[in-house]
């Protein structure tokens, strides 16, 4: 599903070179749940951005869904992303659209037939327990609800891989637990999950394979 071989990423800030990842290698098999753990600045977000080709590595090879992501054309990148669901710490919901419209928007832009959209949106909202809030606008949602809406948007497309970049970072313990439970359900449905968090306790509680990053290096791969 995912394979990284000696991947490094260095950002250039003017004449200064800032290493974000150094010599990272690992594999994630189909259907796995992998936690990516490390403090802020460890390189988690950079690593995830490399997977969906928002960034290109300075060195190394990356394969996602059997595709060399560094060699993809623009349209191939789009095709790859159609198989990946992405969730961010800040949910990234469109504030001028309702929860329903936020989820439907993604289906519409991907050309889902109109007659299928309503059913799929409500299936996704039911899966995250938000069907009662379908007509609410993002500013009316709690952070936990916003994150669940973002999850619904990610899974409505039935992705093969779910990339969650600190989805619980802004949530209190109760809301975080709800979000984790939903992610687990998605994983149980057969989706491969890569879950990034800076909370070591949360990573431990998930009791899944954990990749520990620090200063851009992969320190441990355990579980």
């Amino acid at each position: 599903m995912i394979e990284l071989h000696r991947v490094s990423k260095v950002y250039s800030v003017g004449p200064v070179k800032v290493p974000a990842l150094s010599d990272v290698s690992f594999r994630v098999g189909k259907g796995e749940f992998v936690t990516l753990c490390g403090p802020s600045g460890a390189g988690k977000t950079t690593l995830l951005r490399l997977l969906y080709r928002e960034e290109i590595p300075t060195e190394g090879e990356i394969e996602v869904l059997r595709q060399d992501v560094t060699a993809l054309t623009r349209s191939q990148v789009a095709a790859l992303r159609r198989s990946i669901g992405i969730v961010f710490q800040d949910a990234k919901l469109l504030p001028g659209r309702t929860v329903y419209e936020n989820v439907a928007f993604v289906l519409r832009v991907l050309g889902t037939p109109r007659r299928e959209i309503t059913g799929r949106v409500f299936d996704a909202l039911r899966a995250v327990g938000l069907s009662a809030r379908a007509q609410a606008y993002p500013p009316q949602l709690s952070q936990g609800e916003a994150q669940r809406a973002a999850l619904a948007r990610a899974v409505a497309r039935k992705p093969l891989l779910l990339i969650a970049d600190e989805p619980t970072g802004n949530l209190d313990e109760g809301m975080a637990a709800e979000v984790i439970e939903i992610v687990r359900d998605i994983w149980a449905g057969g989706t491969t999950v890569l879950f990034a968090t800076h909370q070591a306790t949360l990573a431990a509680a998930l009791k899944q394979r954990t990749l520990s990053l620090q200063n851009g290096r992969l320190l441990k791969d355990e579980g």
Binding site: S75, V77, A78, I84, I86, L94, V109, G111, R157
Partner: protein, 294 residues
């Protein structure tokens, strides 16, 4: 899918608000100016055509030829290039025409001791012979005939008129182009604002793998809709002005240009203006995209 993209474009148009309205107004003004000059120019062109059909060159003869000589002269002149019709007008006929023109004062002509009017040839040139160059050549040929005393009439004034029409058309094109450039800039600004407003949507679209045309098309459509709306308003404005001013101006046009009535733009002119507006808006949309996107 197209309906969805169109809906997104409409949503963007609403977002652009007053800037979009300014862009539409500018497109309206530029196309209305272009259309107005086009309308004037096409009516002037029609007048030129009518004048050309009526233009006559008169060759005054040194002396009145005998009937055999006049027939031979007419045949010779008819064979000249640029000549369509030749009619011989004898001294007596010329005097008769003068009397008709004088009407109740015709007795003045009767009081003359002798007929002072010369015999002449009235020549209608062909289409080529009625152009400035053709007429000049024809006048030279006619002037070279041994029977010719003087050549009158001509098409020089008419060509000046045609030249004026071309200048008017160019002026209109210039004004239209300046306004069109301003319209493109405004559409670009409106679309750039929209781009900033819909950055989040575009980011989400790209992250979920929407095809590039789906990401970009609403911007283009939004620009094109502004253009089309501007063009429709311009045509409506022109129709309104034509309906209100046309009847008031027509008597003057009849007197000066000899046209029975002012004609409005033809359907293909209207279609061109609509297309031009849509393209103007589209260009604005594309330029904005280029300016704001990597």
């Amino acid at each position: 899918m197209f309906g969805f993209l169109l809906g997104e474009a409409l949503r963007d148009l609403r977002r652009a608000g007053r800037v979009a309205v300014s862009a539409i107004v500018l497109i309206t003004l530029s196309l209305a100016a272009l259309g107005a000059f086009w309308l004037l120019s096409s009516n002037l062109a029609e007048a030129v055509v009518q004048f050309r059909e009526r233009v006559k060159i008169v060759v005054y003869l040194k002396r009145e030829p005998s009937s055999g000589e006049s027939r031979a002269l007419v045949e010779r002149v008819r064979a000249l290039p640029g000549v369509a019709v030749v009619r011989y007008v004898g001294k007596a006929e010329a005097l008769g025409t003068l009397k008709q023109v004088l009407g109740k004062d015709a007795a003045v002509a009767d009081a003359l001791p002798q007929n002072p009017l010369p015999a002449s040839l009235e020549i209608t040139p062909t289409a080529e012979g009625a152009t400035l160059e053709g007429a000049r050549a024809l006048v030279m040929r006619l002037g070279a005939l041994p029977e010719t005393d003087e050549v009158g009439g001509g098409v020089e004034w008419m060509e000046q008129f045609a030249h004026g029409r071309r200048l008017l058309w160019l002026f209109g094109l210039g004004v239209g182009a300046v306004l069109a450039a301003a319209a493109i800039l405004t559409v670009t600004t409106a679309t750039t604002l929209v781009l900033h407003a819909r950055r989040d949507e575009m980011e989400i679209m790209r992250l979920v793998g929407a095809p590039e045309h789906v990401v970009r098309l609403p911007l283009l459509l939004q620009g094109m809709m502004q253009g089309l709306l501007g063009a429709m308003l311009a045509i409506w404005l022109l129709v309104g002005c034509y309906a209100i001013l046309g009847p008031r101006v027509e008597p003057l046009v009849r007197e000066t240009l000899g046209l029975a009535r002012l004609t409005f733009l033809r359907p293909h002119n209207v279609a061109f203006l609509m297309l031009a507006g849509t393209l103007l808006g589209g260009v604005g949309g594309i330029l904005a995209r280029g300016r704001a996107e990597p």
